[in-house]
């Protein structure tokens, strides 16, 4: 849903209140897409999720202790989307977390963790849906992470500073997620007068007003989080391949 909350910044008092905030992250609701579209987006998402499942299964078989780290990563992704994000326009919403997740855990793993998180949100929070799971996975767990990670890799290869690359990765991941959602809605509900393009303009203009400032906000927040992580969790970031280990000249690459 389009974020409109104007809370004062006081801390939430219960888990339920914290999670009330998760719900304002944009997902397509249950039953919103016609059956053919729901199936088509599920089919489009399937290869990426299967690829992610294979990567995850291989990782767990080789390193059984990874189960716990991956579970922790999933929980972190879930909780990250619960943080309240002040927008530069004064409203507030919540980060998608796809950019930071892709940098830390790589897009194939994010496809699986994102699918698990979206399934939990559909069943535990009535947010998103099972029939729209494929569409939501495609925008939030596939396109967002891959777009953000692609920008991150390009900028890092171009010798851009880490924090600049992190900002643009989070910005692009957030914005691309919402662009894909607009396309999905426009395909399902073409405008009676101007067809797909008119509908894309309608849905896109609704999201653009709120999402461009929020994408900037998510970029800034991700930079702040990463700056603190570089100071406090250098070991974990090195293990994840985000930072160089001592004596390594080339940054670690995902397999």
């Amino acid at each position: 849903m389009v974020p409109v909350s104007q809370e004062t910044g006081q801390g939430a008092s219960t888990i339920h209140e914290v999670l009330e905030r998760v719900r304002r992250v944009m997902h397509i609701a249950e039953g919103f897409l016609p059956p053919a579209h729901a199936i088509a987006w599920g089919v489009a998402s399937a290869p990426f999720v299967v690829h992610g499942v294979r990567s995850l299964t291989r990782e767990v078989r080789e390193h059984p202790e990874s189960t716990l780290l991956l579970g922790a990563s999933g929980a972190f992704t879930f909780v990250l989307s619960a943080l309240k994000l002040p927008s530069v326009t004064g409203s507030c919403s919540h980060p998608t977390g796809t950019g930071l997740g892709a940098i830390l855990f790589r897009p194939p793993i994010m496809a699986v963790l994102g699918t698990i998180t979206l399934l939990f949100q559909a069943l535990l929070l009535a947010h998103g849906g099972l029939t729209t799971l494929g569409a939501n996975v495609f925008s939030m767990a596939i396109v967002g992470p891959w777009a953000g990670y692609g920008v991150y890799r390009v900028l890092r290869r171009g010798q851009a500073p880490l924090m600049v690359a992190v900002f643009f990765a989070a910005f692009v991941a957030d914005l691309s997620t919402y662009c894909v959602t607009s396309v999905q809605l426009a395909l399902a509900f073409p405008d009676p007068g101007s067809g797909f393009l008119g509908a894309l303009g309608k849905f896109g203009s609704i999201f653009a007003v709120t999402q461009i400032p929020l994408a900037v906000s998510e970029g800034l927040l991700t930079v702040l989080v990463m700056r603190l992580l570089v100071k406090s969790s250098r070991g974990e970031l090195t293990r994840l391949g985000v930072l160089l280990s001592k004596g390594t000249k080339q940054e670690a690459m995902a397999p």
């Binding site: 339920h16 914290v18 059956p35 995850l56 189960t67 991956l70 999933g74 909780v79 698990i116 405008d191």
Partner: protein
């Protein structure tokens, strides 16, 4: 624990096999999006609401708290259908069949949401996840999902406490302080998640952890009468919707 999951643990149908409830709840959802919205989705909506508040015994207040979330999205999402871009009436004009399309969409979405809520309000996640292995989901993925599920509550609780501590230290009084606090909150969540995973690993290693997380699942058998009754209800709804479609449309 989250409200829907807490309600599922105390549900009348808690002891029923998840497959029983999936046939009924998810079957209603499939019907809601497959049948014509009027009268199909309307019939599904009425049936799902009756089952939720009647035999399943879901408290109305709890149901409303969960149901208003998808409803809010549906209303927001249906609004663009009321206008059209371009055409003889100007750049932006009221769509001729906009209210009908928006109404049909609202009916379909609200009925489909109730079907999923019927499943979610009666099936705890801890009953569902371990059984997914039998449904063909790879065991490592189910294990990761189980750890994610259990760790999410602990991490959310930690985040809540950190937020309270930040607020008590005036960490949300100015915009700059809010940003600083938020960055700290995200980083703390990461550090605590990985720290907890490391401690869990140490504890499990001491108990002979071999890479698989074995959990006890409450025994339940698929009820043939319940599943047959669910299928009969779905068939009756389909027949009724198709019969009434002509006269009512």
């Amino acid at each position: 624990m989250l409200p829907i999951d807490a309600a599922a643990h105390g549900s009348r149908w808690r002891r029923r096999h998840p497959l029983d409830k999936a046939v009924l709840g998810l079957g209603l959802t499939v019907l809601a999006i497959s049948l014509p919205p009027w009268p199909g989705a309307a019939l599904v909506l009425a049936a799902a609401l009756t089952v939720l508040l009647g035999p399943a015994g879901v408290p109305g207040r709890r149901l409303w708290r969960a149901y208003r979330v998808p409803l809010g999205f549906c209303v927001t999402g249906a609004l663009p259908l009321l206008v059209q871009v371009g055409g003889p009436d100007g750049f932006l004009a009221a769509a001729p069949d906009g209210p009908v399309r928006a109404g049909e969409l609202l009916l379909r979405t609200s009925a489909a949401s109730l079907g999923v809520l019927l499943f979610a309000f009666t099936t705890p996640m801890s009953d569902l996840l371990p059984r997914l292995v039998r449904a063909g989901v790879p065991a490592p993925v189910v294990d990761v999902a189980l750890v994610t599920y259990r760790m999410s509550f602990l991490l959310l609780d930690s985040v809540r406490r950190v937020r309270e501590a930040q607020a008590a230290r005036l960490g949300h009084t100015t915009r700059a302080a809010t940003w600083r606090s938020l960055g700290g909150l995200g980083a703390t969540a990461f550090v605590r998640a990985f720290d907890r995973a490391a401690r869990l690993q140490t504890g499990l290693a001491g108990r002979g952890y071999d890479g698989t997380l074995r959990v006890l699942v409450p025994p339940a058998r698929v009820s043939v009468p319940f599943t047959a009754a669910s299928l009969a209800l779905l068939a009756a709804l389909t027949a009724l919707a198709l019969t009434l479609e002509g006269p009512l449309s």
